[in-house]
Symmetry: C2
Subunit: 227 residues, 2 copies
DNA sequence: GCAAAAGTGTTCTGTCTACACCCATGT
DNA sequence: ACATGGGTGTAGACAGAACACTTTTGC
């Protein structure tokens, strides 16, 4: 049977949520890290996280942390994995439910630049706890998701051009994609809608601005987008 | 920063592991349930689970539960999802890290038949807590895994014929598969090895017995096995 | 010799890949 | 008029799906 009796409180682990926050910053995929202001690992960088409140759902706790750090709500947030090695926190038993989040850089409203900073994935500083492992796990999952689903949009602002979307995919997957094939597949997935608006800023021909259809954000059941 | 301070013990949730144990029983995919001998949900069925010991890894706790119920070690065990709605346990805050396991029915050494019983997935009794949701989540994941990876073997004994394997896939996916295409794809995945032995029991031509290559049990990176 | 299950190839179809040029705008 | 990025179609390769007969054994 499950949960047959409650263990004494002193045997209970502490439970945290940690959030790997990805965004595209200056044409690079970056992760938001915060510098610890307490022991253990004082002064080291880590991913944002904290304890789950007593009556709070796990995903709410993750969303709260995300809001705390960036001031952004309604971002893509997905449970990643639960890490619970007995000694991952030197103080005591701490189990962390890790999430990963995708957010458009432009949506960030408040960022305490004294504490928080964006790091590219190939130049991470030494991280506290097992956060290095968590970040790598999140990156693997993100790439996988990008191949099979359409979450890539969630890194872009509400309106975007197909070229911007392709560039995002190329940055994250770290490979060049064919323009015509990319456009055909993305449009075939029927998750975008033309807005009728055009983007005309730099040189060149103006580009159609697309938005994503709210009803189609979820998983793609068909085949891989980028095999 | 993550895990900045430890919360007082009285604010800590209890943490359990629950394991959805799948096996093929009498040509059907079934789940092992146990009848609760305590409140809450006294007398109702649920998936096996229990509290995580103080210095125990999560996966070890899941493996321990599995061993407790079935006497089987070294089975396929994968973390599924962590369920933590604030009121999922009526007594207090309990967060559960759910796992799913695949095991060959023949491997079961000890099963307390007064408490534990196998149920087919389309005829589950009312389940305790949110276990119904957990089981459905596990079934979705199992089918998904079967399409993309090769975990299907883990439901069969060490040696098996291709027909037996195909039948297992058909039962779980609940659709008929073409014999020639199935064999070609499974063999192309290079996860099986012929053992040289033959199975000769009932009528008909004897079948080659295959085993799985230990080095190839993990994920398949290529494309779907059964699109 | 027949019932029962194992084993085996080929054709067709649809999807993915590779690839090059014209279009609309700003300067 | 030219530089810049946006936008479009097609042929060949490849993988998946559909499909029927022969082989080996037990009775």
């Amino acid at each position: 049977m499950s949960e047959g009796f409650l263990p004494p409180v002193e045997d209970r682990p502490a439970v945290t949520v940690d959030v790997v926050i990805f965004s595209l910053v200056e044409d690079d995929l970056k992760v938001l890290l915060v510098q610890r202001d307490r022991q253990p690992f004082l002064g080291q960088w880590g991913i944002p996280g904290g304890f789950v409140y007593r009556h709070e759902a796990l995903e709410s706790a993750a969303a709260r942390k995300l809001d705390d750090e960036t001031g952004v709500k309604n971002v893509y947030l997905e449970q990643l994995y639960t890490f619970g090695s007995p000694n991952r926190d030197p103080r005591s038993r701490v189990i962390t439910v890790a999430y990963f989040a995708l957010l458009p850089y432009a949506a960030i409203r408040e960022l305490d630049e004294a504490r928080a900073s964006w790091f590219p994935l190939n130049a991470l500083p030494p991280l506290a706890f097992d956060h290095e492992e968590i970040v790598q796990y999140a990156l693997t999952r993100l790439r996988y998701k990008l191949e099979y689903t359409t979450v890539g949009f969630r890194l872009l602002p509400d309106l975007f051009t197909l070229s911007e979307l392709q560039k995002a995919y190329e940055i994250i997957l770290d490979e060049r994609l064919d323009k015509r094939n990319f456009r055909r597949k993305i449009l075939a997935a029927e998750i975008l809608q033309e807005t009728g608006q055009m983007k005309r800023d730099g040189e060149g021909r103006p580009a159609k601005l697309y938005g994503y259809r709210d009803d189609a954000i979820t998983e793609i059941k068909t085949r891989r987008l980028f095999p």
